[in-house]
């Protein structure tokens, strides 16, 4: 059971959070099918430090960016949307 840091509420346990996918830049509506499909479905599947979006659904409801090591689960940091990385 992971312990995740909501940037607003502090550290809480995993059941309070919902995974919300990988951060992605939304392509414009004129991109080709392959680019759009990659945006929808392709994931980086990294081993090691990895960025992902979570929401504190069981708490304040805010969305934030989490950097987590996919091997050790070490939480590296959490950023509010728009916060400098």
């Amino acid at each position: 059971m992971l312990r995740l840091p909501c940037p607003y509420c502090g550290e809480r346990d995993e059941p309070e959070f919902r995974f919300a996918g990988e951060p992605a830049v939304r392509p414009g509506s004129d991109v080709g099918d392959a680019v759009w499909a990659a945006y929808l479905y392709m994931r980086s599947n990294e081993k090691g430090p990895h960025r992902e979006v979570w929401s504190h659904a069981g708490g304040c409801g805010q969305f934030f960016l989490l950097e987590r090591d996919t091997v050790s689960h070490a939480v590296l940091r959490a950023l509010r949307p728009g916060e400098a990385s």
Binding site: M1, L2, R3, D33, W36, S55, G61, F63, H73
Partner: protein, 963 residues
């Protein structure tokens, strides 16, 4: 009787009567079922899983693989209890399992004669003709041990979530030393041990610590710890992410009797693992008989429980620890012969010791009667020695399970003949026998050091001196012997699952050379003792069979739980009514009073139908649906979501979030809109109301309110943070009632309100705010039934009162529930998300195409509607399905068939009171092009025929909305 006259930690002033297989026996408070049975001379306790061989007690604690019994006391029942773990209580009824008529005379014991035909994995090769199915039922019926009772479990379980500074796993010498040190530093310490008393095996092994008797020292040290949470009878069963742990506490309720269970979820800043080690059996032919026991367990039975399991004892060992057992047995009056597999065996006073000597066979069906001994370099030269107890020790395996679960590494150590912990996770400190073979002094030293290290990591200093114990002679190293190299391979490795050396050899021969394959193919380590006494012996045997080093073979992945944990304990309070939260509508009590059958829909308890006396649900549904179209019906829609959206950019934002055009919606008007996912799939449908220039009210479907809100928040926060728009979920604050039917306007007109509900002021799809019966509220003109319809919304506190008020306004009002509403909307061809749509349905599939053509701005999912797959001509499309037989209602999910291939299915199917016949809706490939066609409908081997048509079966022009 085998009870010693004196000694032990049992309470001889409290005798306890219990029943074993119908016989009345007696033990003492402090006994386990196993020790009480041994004291009464009971040898055969159970039958092995596959071969039904007689088995007796082997161990004294969690390592026990054989003594599985059925225990009942009052309402409490465990069909697979390990007798060595259950504290004896007065009145317990204990019986054997996996035997008929009883464990001593099991009819299925004959199976053992055919053991050659049922080795490991026999079910992959035999019982094939005519088919496995012919044998499967009978073979499965014979598998398993205890039998569950069908009555509901009445035990109480609960859960605690806590954080602690230092979690100390294990309350033996090392664990108590660590906890004592950490507590002296002022830290919050949680100490957990699965025994009832502190000190672990100190009671049995003895010793002197800080001048006190060892077990007394442990009790005193624990008693002096300040601010500590002491959890006896608690097993730490799992290590999870970020130093989270699961603990299972066996508790005694105030009224006595069998313990209740509590699961603790603990988050620890520092961890001390002092979990000890488990003794392995020696592996030799015939090593599974009753009366063959772990030497360390025998020591516990003699010293802790004052039970002498035998008087003519042979001890077979490959290490020094068994000699403590020998000394205890001699002191208790037994005659002892030691067969030490090592070429140089220590000489001991009063003991007959044979060096370089191993057991090569045993005899005695209901209890060991003799053992054949031979020299390791002359195995064919056997000497038969009589005995009634054979105590065996094959070495010690550190209990590294939690360390490995948390990602710690292991390394094989040849000198210790064990997998020892390698690199520990950060914040973990290991101490005692879990680190490898240690004496009492080293265990205390390591424990104290672990407490110091844990405290230092938290910036604290320890204020006690390390505990001291007199030095002891260094033990001679173990002489590993993994099995006896003779032709007879009926040498047991896993007692509980009946896995022998021959099975390991079979697996190796068939190339199941990976340790993970060995486990699954032979089921070694998969019984409820989880391989505690068998895993290492199995790995070593596999290594020998495949010519590899033991470290090269490695271990299987360690996974929680360390001991079996009942599902009840994991559920805690979450069962029955408390299984999951459920939402109630404000008028719930009134619905019940009106005969409603309440069902759960999307997390809300809502009326399915209102039954009159003697009515069936189906009859009620038909009556309600018919009455709504004739007069006026009243429906509780309070569970509908209500999300307020406001701000200068609200219109622009909603225009991006919805498929339909929202920005041009006029104030005071409603629009039915779809919300899509980025994949273009229809996520929710609902009504968008514009209450003011910069204020909207969304009505998502009841089960999707949370999801819609999450989607709005996600897009606003991550994609459009500059947009000035806010959302308020006000679902719970409002009660909403739908009034529907030709006389709906009459009923609503009788409300005392400042809202003008004339058709000019409030046409279909309009909304107005105002005062209703003195309450702030809204009246919307909207319909899901196809009849003239209104939705009245008032603050939730007044919901029940408004419901009653509407009922009393002088009209003959029909109450209708969800099921009747579903029929009414089906007659009109209105979709239900998740019923008529699935995870692939696009708006064009539903025939809603205008926004894609006309809407200028980009919106969520738009690009996905232009992919080749979205534009395929043969996509499934939403159509009406009219069965040829008007009295036949096809099952939902029936397939539409073309040339023997399914091209879609029926999504909605019911009897229509308005049409007096069955109607349906479906999603069918190229459906709109098939309108007018008759198709074959198929379900569970039966076929029927139906005509494809428009989805709307009734009042296609929609005139009744204005009637």
């Amino acid at each position: 009787m085998r009870r010693l006259a004196a000694g032990g930690a049992i309470d001889r002033t409290r005798p306890l009567g219990f029943i074993w297989e119908g016989r009345k026996l007696s033990g003492f408070a402090g006994d386990t079922i196993a020790s009480a049975l041994l004291a009464n001379g009971i040898g055969v306790i159970g039958r092995s899983f596959k071969y039904h061989r007689p088995r007796g007690v082997y161990g004294a604690w969690t390592e026990e693989p054989n003594a599985i019994v059925d225990v009942a006391l009052g309402a409490r029942h465990d069909p697979n209890a390990r007798a060595s773990l259950v504290p004896l209580e007065a009145g317990m009824v204990v019986g054997g399992v996996n035997a008929w008529p009883n464990v001593r005379r099991d009819a299925l014991g004959l199976i053992d004669l055919f053991h050659r035909f049922i080795p490991a994995g026999f079910y992959y090769k035999t019982f094939k003709s005519p088919s496995w199915g012919a044998f499967e039922t009978r073979i499965r019926a014979m598998a398993g041990l205890g039998v569950m009772r069908p009555e509901p479990d009445r035990l109480l379980y609960d859960t605690r979530h806590v954080e602690t500074d230092v979690l100390v796993v294990g309350g033996g010498a090392a664990g108590v030393a660590a906890a004592r040190a950490a507590a002296s530093a002022g830290l919050g310490v949680m100490l957990a041990d699965d025994r009832a008393a502190w000190g672990g095996v100190l009671q049995a092994e003895g010793g002197v610590i800080d001048g006190m008797e060892a077990a007394a020292w442990a009790a005193a040290a624990v008693g002096e710890m300040r601010g500590a949470t002491l959890l006896g009878r608690t097993t730490v069963f799992g290590a999870y992410d970020h130093n989270a742990f699961g603990l299972l506490e066996q508790r005694r309720d105030a009224a006595g009797g069998w313990a209740e269970e509590r699961v603790w979820l603990v988050r620890a800043r520092q961890v001390v693992l002092a979990a000890g080690a488990i003794e392995r059996p020696l592996v030799f032919p015939g090593n599974d008989r009753p009366g063959i026991m772990s030497a360390a367990a025998v020591l516990q039975y003699v010293r802790h429980y004052a039970v002498l399991p035998g008087r003519e004892v042979v001890i077979a060992t490959n290490n020094d620890t068994a000699y403590a057992t020998a000394a205890a047995l001699v002191a208790a009056g037994a005659s002892v012969t030691v067969a030490d597999a090592r070429p140089e065996a220590p000489g001991r006073d009063g003991l007959r010791v044979r060096a370089g000597c191993v057991p090569v066979g045993t005899g005695g069906r209901h209890g060991v009667k003799w053992v054949d001994l031979a020299l390791r370099d002359a195995l064919s030269n056997r000497e038969r020695v009589r005995c009634d107890l054979l105590a065996i020790s094959g070495g010690w395996s550190p209990s590294v399970h939690l360390h490995s679960q948390a990602g710690g590494t292991l390394r094989w150590d040849d000198a210790a003949a064990a997998f020892l912990p390698g690199v520990a996770r950060e914040g973990w400190h290991l101490a005692g026998a879990v680190t490898g073979p240690v004496g009492l002094g080293a265990a205390l030293g390591q424990g104290h050091a672990a407490g110091v290290a844990a405290a230092a990591a938290l910036g604290r200093v320890v204020h006690v001196a390390p505990p001291e114990t007199p030095a002891r002679a260094v033990e001679a190293p173990i002489g590993a012997m993994w099995f006896v190299d003779v032709a007879d391979r009926r040498q047991w490795i896993d007692f509980q699952n009946d896995v022998t050396l021959g099975d390991v050899a079979l697996a190796a021969r068939e190339n199941y050379a990976s340790v993970e394959h060995l486990k699954r193919y032979t089921t070694l380590g998969m019984a409820n003792d989880q391989g505690k006494t068998s895993n290492i012996n199995g790995i070593a045997a596999l290594a020998a069979m495949t010519g590899r080093a033991i470290g090269e073979v490695g271990t299987t992945t360690f996974r929680p739980p360390y001991v079996p944990v009942s599902l009840g304990a994991l559920a805690g309070m979450r069962h029955g009514r408390l299984f999951a939260p459920i939402r109630e509508v404000p008028a719930a009590a009134d619905h019940l009073a009106n005969g409603a059958v309440m069902r759960e829909y999307g997390g809300w308890r809502r009326p399915a139908a209102y039954l009159r006396i003697g009515e069936t649900v189906a009859a009620a549904i038909a009556r309600e649906a018919a009455s709504v179209r004739q007069g006026v019906g009243l429906f509780d829609g309070s569970s509908l979501g209500k999300i307020e959206v406001a701000g200068p950019d609200a219109a622009a934002f909603l225009n991006v979030m919805f498929y339909n055009e929202v920005a041009n919606l006029k104030v005071g008007r409603l629009r039915y809109c779809l919300m899509l996912r980025e994949t273009g799939v229809v996520f929710d449908d609902g009504v968008v109301a514009r209450l003011a220039a910069e204020r909207y009210l969304l009505s998502p479907s009841s089960s999707h309110t949370e999801g819609v809100l999450a989607m709005l928040r996600a897009w606003q926060q991550t994609e459009f943070p500059a947009m000035r728009v806010v959302f308020h979920d006000v679902t719970a604050a409002w009660a909403t009632f739908a009034v529907s039917g030709p006389r709906a306007g009459v009923l609503v007109g009788r409300l005392s309100s400042d809202i003008d509900i004339g058709d000019g002021a409030l046409p279909h799809m309009a909304v107005a705010e105002g005062v209703i019966e003195g309450l702030p509220g809204r009246i919307a003109r909207v319909s899901f039934t196809g009849e003239r319809g209104y939705e009245i919304s008032v603050p939730a506190r007044h919901g029940a009162a408004m419901w009653r008020h509407l009922l009393g306004l002088g009209e003959d009002v029909t109450l209708y529930g969800i099921e009747a509403l579903s029929v009414l909307r089906a007659e009109k061809g209105f979709i239900l998300i998740g019923t008529d749509t699935d995870g692939m349905t696009l708006p064009a599939d539903l025939g809603i195409t205008a926004p894609l053509r006309n809407k200028a701005v980009d919106f969520v999912g738009k690009r996905s509607l232009l992919t080749p797959d979205a534009l395929r001509a043969d996509r499934r499309q939403f159509v009406g399905v009219l069965p040829e037989d008007p009295g036949f209602v096809p099952a939902v999910g029936s397939h539409a068939m073309v040339d023997g291939r399914s091209v879609g299915w029926v999504t909605t199917s019911c009897h229509s009171p308005a049409l007096g016949r069955s109607i349906g809706l479906g999603m069918i490939e190229g459906g709109r092009g098939r309108i007018g066609e008759t198709m074959e409908i198929f379900h569970l081997g039966k076929t029927s025929r139906a005509v494809i048509g428009e989805a709307c079966h009734f009042d296609r022009a929609g005139e009744r909305l204005h009637g």
